[in-house]
Symmetry: C2
Subunit: 197 residues, 2 copies
């Protein structure tokens, strides 16, 4: 979305900035993202982005929020397996890892090092949305007595760590180009082995 020299973005600038930032993150990583570079690539002055984002952090936060919203939406969608907790949990895990694979830039920003401002409060833990999807699917399985008993939170923790670990490996390219089917098998094995009774 390169604009003519001197032209205006007419309200599209915000979107253009986010899209270009995502492109940079996808190819070069979060570290290489620079507001000035984005502005340059879009043909606007390096101050223009500040009309839409208070600072660089705000841009990253917006991208992370988008990512969490997309992920949550993707996890809520598959209600087909509402009656079968095992199938549902496997699907949730697969959707989670597939999200990381298909939205690498978003996932990187979502889990990029958080600002460790010693004074700042834990930012309302946005991971929790995805986490609660897992937890509630697990609670349902426990209600139906097909899942192990014990605190749903602890069981969900194990499942979350597992899919998050897989997602990190995928995003970092450590798994080569493993197939979605292979990932689903790993998740199925996990669910059947450690969650189901």
């Amino acid at each position: 979305v390169r604009k003519k020299r001197g032209a205006y973005h007419h309200g599209q600038l915000r979107t253009a900035i986010v899209d270009d930032a995502l492109a940079i993150v996808a190819t070069d990583g979060v570290r290489r993202l620079s507001l000035r570079d984005v502005a340059r690539r879009l043909g606007v002055s390096h101050q223009a982005p500040y009309r839409h984002f208070a600072d660089k952090r705000a841009l990253l936060d917006a991208i992370a929020r988008d990512g969490f919203a997309m992920l949550t939406a993707a996890l809520v969608a598959p209600t087909e397996h509402a009656g079968d907790p095992t199938a549902r949990l496997i699907e949730l895990g697969s959707v989670y890892v597939e999200f990381a694979r298909s939205h690498t830039a978003h996932y990187r920003v979502m889990f990029a090092e958080v600002d460790t401002e010693s004074g700042s409060p834990p930012p309302e833990d946005e991971t929790s949305s995805a986490f609660h999807q897992l937890a509630s699917a697990i609670a349902e399985g426990q209600r139906q007595r097909v899942f192990v008993s014990g605190p749903a939170r602890d069981v969900a923790l194990a499942s979350f760590a597992f899919v998050h670990g897989l997602a990190m490996l995928v995003v970092d390219g450590k798994l080569g180009d493993i197939s979605a089917g292979a990932i689903e098998k790993l998740i199925e094995r996990h669910v059947v082995g450690t969650v189901r009774r």
Copy 2:
């Protein structure tokens, strides 16, 4: 290790730089690490670090290498359970996550975004050392017929993703101050459920 104005570090500078960088990473994160800041804190000129490291990347690489070496050493150590694959695999996992907890700065640098230079070859995958510890423990369990059959690599992949996911959550403080015992229980559950026959 602050030196007197004008004094020399007499060969200690390299160590001092690494230590100070680790301190900064531990409190402020990798993103906030700056060579100039380290030099300033150590009372040397901002060019001094270049005597010991070709560039910032080289400093981070050195820290990552140290971390991988320490982790490998920690994983090799516990041969006590050499005869019991289940106990050994649980211990390997616990040691892995405990390393992330007690060496947060190292772990952050080890798994900080790798430079995605499109041309650069995969850097001899240093994760593989830790990974192979798991894989060989798993292969031994398969030999004794107490672990599930199938490619040791795939089974190891699941275990690695699980402990790596746990480690990431610990390092990012998403698990609060979960006890080492609670983590060991999660790992035990994973091993017993998805690795053991």
